[in-house]
């Protein structure tokens, strides 16, 4: 269980949100929606241990998140292009956490030809598939997916969410799906939906 208790986070001393309590069981999908600037990304990053909390704590099965080493909560960026070393080929990017088999690649629709390309040579949807598989190779207990389909067309959005949702349910991985698209979230969540409002 990934839990946040009395959590406050923001920039400087000013919190974007405060007193937030949240519990995400493994194998469940929780939706997080809200308008731009409400603090969705900051909350996601705080839950993944990438942003310091101003107050409160984030625990995983009752213990604080590890400060070093491979993180049990992996964060998927809105822009996968920025989350990949621009000088690395996709094959190397994919295996950054652990080797990835050909079977896994084909399950994710990653074609062999992509592996020799650089990140800027793939589309947003293709990169997002690579990004998801790379995160899963790290065998996380939880995934934070931050607007991962915001810049994609509707067909790609559905494909990516179906893929991710199916894997999380099958592998028992808890997923926090962040989006400003409430109808989209309502179609994929299994553990409810929370809304962050500005201020």
């Amino acid at each position: 269980m990934l839990e946040a208790r009395n959590l406050a986070a923001g920039f400087g001393r000013k919190p974007l949100f405060a007193g937030l309590n949240l519990a995400l069981p493994k194998g469940q999908i929780l939706g997080l929606e809200g308008p731009s600037g409400a603090g969705k990304t900051t909350l996601g990053r705080t839950l993944a241990g990438l942003h310091p909390a101003l107050q409160g704590e984030v625990t995983l099965d009752g213990a604080p998140l590890p400060r070093r080493g491979r993180q049990p909560v992996q964060y998927l960026h809105q822009s996968p292009l920025l989350a990949m070393n621009p000088r690395w080929r996709i094959g190397k990017v994919l295996c950054e956490a652990a080797p990835v088999s050909e079977a896994h690649c084909s399950a994710f629709g990653i074609e062999a030809g992509w592996l020799q390309r650089y990140p800027h040579e793939l589309s947003g949807g293709q990169l997002q598939r690579v990004s998801i598989l790379r995160a899963l190779a790290a065998q996380p207990a939880f995934l934070i997916a931050d607007e991962i389909t915001a810049s994609l067309d509707q067909i790609s959005q559905v494909q990516i969410w179906q893929l991710l949702g199916g894997i999380c349910r099958r592998e028992g991985i808890g997923l926090l799906a962040i989006s400003h698209d409430a109808p989209l979230l309502s179609r994929i969540v299994t553990a409810g939906q929370i809304t962050l409002s500005r201020g």
Binding site: A48, L50, R70, Q74, Y75, A83, E96, A97, A135, A138
Partner: protein, 270 residues
């Protein structure tokens, strides 16, 4: 002219000059070093293209010897300077306190008048070739260190570095695989832009009498000696070594600028 073409042309010119400067002194032997009193103060002509000096030494051969020396001094000094810049930039990345100390030292070096600092350092290191190399190396790193520091901090905050950390990669792995490869082009351009500076400063220091030993065929020594004879109409003693030094410096300046434009078009326009 496209950036790529001008970079290739500048690289070709610089390569030709380096090869000429490196190979010719070997072929020349002691020509240009040995006094030949029967051929004193000859104006440029068929037997001596660049003329001879007051001791009958061929100016072309002597200039090539001088440039070879300058090339070595420039290469070693610029290389050391880039190394210092990289170390200071890396130290800045260790933490806020280390960054403050590195920033203070960098600002301190930048605040001092450049030529004054060079002279003081050359004097402090005891004069001679090694002192010139050390003085140029120790006085030229701050600007590149600032650029590398800014680049380093930007790369460290990049999402792909954050992701690598979350995926369990060690600090050493991240530095080696994600940060250094992005700093290397900046270091190469910094080296190429620093190299002509180092050569010019070596010549300036030597000209002022704080640099290489007067017995060595350095361009600075030649220009300094030429000052005493130029009023007698022996213009070739100063013009030819000066023009050759300028050609070497300009070709490397062009190469550095062209490479910088290839790496960062916006920065080159500033």
């Amino acid at each position: 002219m496209s950036g790529r073409l001008s970079a290739v042309l500048a690289a070709a010119l610089a390569l030709v000059l380096i090869l000429a400067i490196a190979v010719f002194p070997l072929l020349l032997g002691d020509l240009g070093l040995r006094a030949e009193f029967s051929a004193r103060n000859l104006a440029p002509g068929a037997s001596h293209l660049f003329g001879t000096d007051q001791m009958g030494r061929d100016i072309l051969a002597r200039s090539l010897h001088g440039l070879a020396l300058s090339l070595w001094v420039g290469l070693i000094a610029a290389g050391l300077s880039v190394l210092i810049s990289a170390l200071i930039a890396m130290a800045s990345g260790l933490g806020r306190r280390a960054d403050q100390v590195a920033g203070f030292v960098t600002d301190g070096f930048l605040a001092m008048p450049h030529l004054m600092l060079l002279i003081l350092l050359a004097f402090a290191f005891g004069g001679g070739t090694t002192a010139v190399i050390l003085a140029v190396a120790v006085s030229h790193w701050p600007r590149l260190a600032r650029i590398l520091r800014a680049e380093l901090l930007q790369i460290r905050a990049a999402p792909y570095v954050e992701t690598a950390r979350a995926l369990g990669r060690s600090r050493l792995h991240i530095t080696w695989h994600h940060i250094l490869p992005h700093l290397l082009p900046q270091m190469l351009v910094g080296f190429l832009l620093m190299f002509p500076h180092a050569i010019l400063h070596e010549a300036a220091l030597t000209f002022l009498g704080f640099g290489l030993e007067p017995s060595r065929p350095a361009i600075g020594v030649m220009l300094s000696e030429a000052m005493r004879h130029i009023s007698a109409g022996r213009w070739w003693l100063a013009v030819f070594p000066g023009v050759m030094l300028l050609a070497l410096v300009l070709s490397f300046e062009m190469l550095g600028t062209a490479l910088r434009r290839l790496i960062s078009p916006r920065e080159a326009q500033c």
